[in-house]
C-alpha cells in the first residue's frame, strides 16, 4: 500500500474510532453502547493490521468481538430492565469526570509531541504469526505460562461465582 493511501485509511479509522468510543461512554441505552463498542474494537483490529500486526488483528476480532463482547451482550440481555431507559445513566460528578478526562487527554497528547518526528519505517509489512509464535514459546515462555494460569483461575472463578447457591 502506498503511504498516502495508508494514511488516508488511518485517518478514516481514527475518526470512526473516536466517534464510536464517544458513543460507548455517552449513549443512554447500554445495549447501544455495547454495539458501539463492537464497532470500536473492530476498528482497532483494522488499525493493528495497518500497523503491521496481522496476527493481532485476527486475534483481536476472535477474542474481543467474537468472545468478550458476545458475553457482554449476553449479560446485558439478561440484566437490563425496561425502566433503565428512563433513568439517568451518568452520576452526579460527571462535570468533574469530564474535566479530569480532558486534563488527562490533553496532557497525554501534549506529552506525546516528543515523538512527532517519527515517520513510518521503510519496507513491506511481513507476516508475523510464525515469529510471534517463536517469541511466545521462547523468550516469553514464563509470562506465557503465567497467563495460562490466570485464564484457568478466571475460568474457575467464573464458575464459582456463577453457581446458583452461592448467589
Amino acid at each position: 500500500m502506498s503511504p498516502s493511501l495508508s494514511s488516508l485509511v488511518f485517518y478514516a479509522f481514527s475518526a470512526m474510532l473516536v466517534v464510536t468510543a464517544v458513543g460507548v461512554v455517552t449513549l443512554r441505552n447500554v445495549f447501544y453502547s455495547a454495539v458501539s463498542l463492537v464497532a470500536a474494537l473492530t476498528i482497532v483490529a483494522g488499525l493493528f493490521v495497518l500497523l503491521g500486526a496481522d496476527f493481532l488483528g485476527a486475534a483481536q476480532v476472535l477474542v474481543y468481538v467474537g468472545g468478550i463482547l458476545i458475553i457482554m451482550l449476553f449479560v446485558i440481555m439478561l440484566s437490563q430492565q425496561p425502566r433503565d431507559l428512563l433513568q439517568r445513566q451518568t452520576n452526579d460528578q460527571w462535570i468533574a469526570g469530564l474535566f479530569f478526562a480532558l486534563t488527562i487527554g490533553v496532557s497525554l497528547v501534549r506529552a506525546f509531541t516528543y515523538f512527532v518526528s517519527q515517520t513510518p519505517p521503510d519496507g513491506d509489512i511481513a507476516p508475523t504469526s510464525a515469529s510471534l509464535g517463536r517469541l511466545l514459546l521462547g523468550e516469553m515462555l514464563l509470562p506465557f505460562e503465567a497467563v495460562s494460569l490466570i485464564l484457568l483461575a478466571a475460568l474457575v472463578g467464573a464458575v464459582v461465582f456463577g453457581q446458583e447457591k452461592n448467589a
Binding site: 502506498s2 445495549f31 447501544y32 454495539v35 463492537v38 473492530t42 496481522d54 496476527f55 485476527a58 486475534a59 476480532v61 476472535l62 468481538v65 467474537g66 468472545g67 463482547l69 458476545i70 458475553i71 451482550l73 449476553f74 440481555m77 439478561l78 507476516p127 504469526s129
Partner: protein, 360 residues
C-alpha cells in the same frame, strides 16, 4: 482439462494493460482489477445459497419419497429464484415493540462477515482471492462476528421467543467455536502454516502411489480432527440436530421470528453461505483442496475437484438435517464441553507427539 486460475489471471493482465494503455495510472488499474475481483467473489457468494437452497429442498424431498419443487423451470430449478423475487417484493414488517435500529442492523451484521470470509479460500490452482498468511484464524475470527448479528436479531425483535433464541445462540455458538478452532490446530501443527492455500497444496501426493496424502487419511489424528470439525461446524451453522437457536417447534423460529422480506432473506443467505464456507474449509484442510483422486491426473481441473468435494460435504450437512432429531439444550452444551473439548485436546497432544517423531 481447463484450469480457471491461469485463465483469469491472464484476463486480468489484459484488462490492466488495456486500462494503462488508455491513460490510467498503474496503481489505479491494479485497484480497479482488485475491485472487479472482489465483486466477482461477492456475486459468487450471493449465488451459492440459491443453489444450496434448491439442493436442500430436492435432497429432503428425495429422502422423504417426494418430488420437491417441480413447477418453476425444468425440475423446479428456478424455484429459489422465484422465492428470492418473492422475498424482495414482500413488505418489511417491523414489530411495534421492536428496537427499530437494532432490528435493521441485525441482518446486516449477520450477513456482512460472510462475504469477507471467502477471501482466503483456495478454490483451485491460482484461484485464491487473497492468500492470507493468517487465513484459518481470519476465517474463524470474522465468522464469529455473525453471532453478534444473531444476538442483535434476538434482542431487537421485542419478542420473548426471539430473545430466548438469541440467548441460546450466544451460548451455543460461543461454546462450539472452541472445539471448532481446537480441531483445526492439529492440521496447522502438522503443516506448519495457517494459510489455507499452503495447507491444501501440502496435501497433494500419494502414499504407495494409491492413497492420497490428505489429512483425513492420517491415522487417528486425521479422523478425530475431521469428525470434531464436522460436528462443531454443523453446530456453528445452526443446523439440525443443533438448531436450538431457531427450534421452530419450541421457539416459533427463534431469532428470526420477527423478520420478513429482504431481512429474512439476508439471514437465510448467511446461514447457507456459512454451510458452504464450512464445507470449503473442510475440503481445503482435510480433503486436499483441489487434489484429484481415482481418475488419472489432469482429467478434471482443480477447481472442479474442489467444488465436487465441497458439495459432497454440503450433502453431508443436508443428510444430517433430515436424519437426526434435535438435541436438548443441556445435552447440547454437555456434548460440547464434556466430550468434544477433551477429545480435541487429546488430539492436539497426539499430534504433538507425531510431529516430534517426524522430526527425529
Amino acid at each position: 482439462m481447463f484450469e480457471l486460475g491461469p485463465a483469469l489471471h491472464h484476463a486480468f493482465e489484459l484488462l490492466r494493460g488495456f486500462a494503462v494503455s488508455h491513460g490510467m495510472s498503474r496503481d489505479a488499474a491494479l485497484l480497479l482489477s482488485k475491485i472487479i475481483q472482489a465483486n466477482i467473489l461477492v456475486l459468487g457468494v450471493a449465488v451459492i445459497p440459491m443453489v444450496l437452497v434448491y439442493a436442500e429442498r430436492k435432497v429432503s424431498a428425495f429422502m422423504q419419497a417426494r418430488l420437491g419443487p417441480m413447477h418453476v423451470g425444468p425440475w423446479g430449478i428456478l424455484q429459489t429464484f422465484a422465492d428470492g423475487v418473492k422475498l424482495m417484493l414482500k413488505e418489511d414488517v417491523v414489530p411495534a415493540g421492536a428496537d427499530k435500529w437494532v432490528h435493521f442492523l441485525a441482518p446486516v451484521v449477520a450477513v456482512a462477515p460472510v462475504f469477507v470470509c471467502f477471501a482466503p479460500v483456495p478454490f483451485g490452482q491460482g484461484l485464491t482471492p487473497v492468500d492470507l498468511d493468517t487465513g484459518v484464524l481470519f476465517i474463524f475470527a470474522v465468522s464469529g462476528v455473525s453471532t453478534i448479528g444473531i444476538l442483535l436479531g434476538g434482542w431487537g425483535s421485542g419478542n420473548k421467543f426471539s430473545m430466548l433464541g438469541g440467548l441460546r445462540a450466544a451460548a451455543q455458538l460461543l461454546s462450539y467455536e472452541i472445539p471448532r478452532v481446537l480441531s483445526v490446530i492439529p492440521v496447522l501443527m502438522w503443516y506448519g502454516s495457517m494459510s489455507l492455500g499452503t495447507i491444501a497444496l501440502a496435501q497433494h501426493g500419494r502414499w504407495l502411489g494409491i492413497l492420497p496424502k490428505w489429512f483425513i487419511f492420517y491415522p487417528v489424528i486425521g479422523q478425530i480432527a475431521f469428525l470434531i470439525f464436522l460436528i462443531s461446524s454443523v453446530a456453528e451453522t445452526n443446523r439440525t440436530p443443533f438448531d436450538i437457536p431457531e427450534a421452530e417447534s419450541e421457539l416459533v423460529a427463534g431469532f428470526h421470528t420477527e423478520f420478513s422480506g429482504l431481512k429474512f432473506a439476508l439471514f437465510f443467505l448467511a446461514e447457507y453461505a456459512y454451510v458452504f464456507l464450512a464445507s470449503a474449509m473442510g475440503t481445503a484442510l482435510f480433503l486436499g483442496g483441489g487434489d484429484g483422486f481415482l481418475l488419472p491426473n489432469g482429467i478434471l481441473p482443480s477447481w472442479i475437484w474442489f467444488l465436487l468435494k465441497t458439495f459432497a460435504l454440503v450433502f453431508l450437512f443436508l443428510w444430517f438435517r433430515w436424519t437426526y432429531p434435535r438435541l436438548r439444550i443441556d445435552r447440547l452444551m454437555q456434548f460440547c464441553w464434556k466430550f468434544l473439548m477433551p477429545w480435541s485436546f487429546v488430539n492436539i497432544a497426539l499430534t504433538g507427539l507425531l510431529v516430534l517423531v517426524r522430526q527425529r
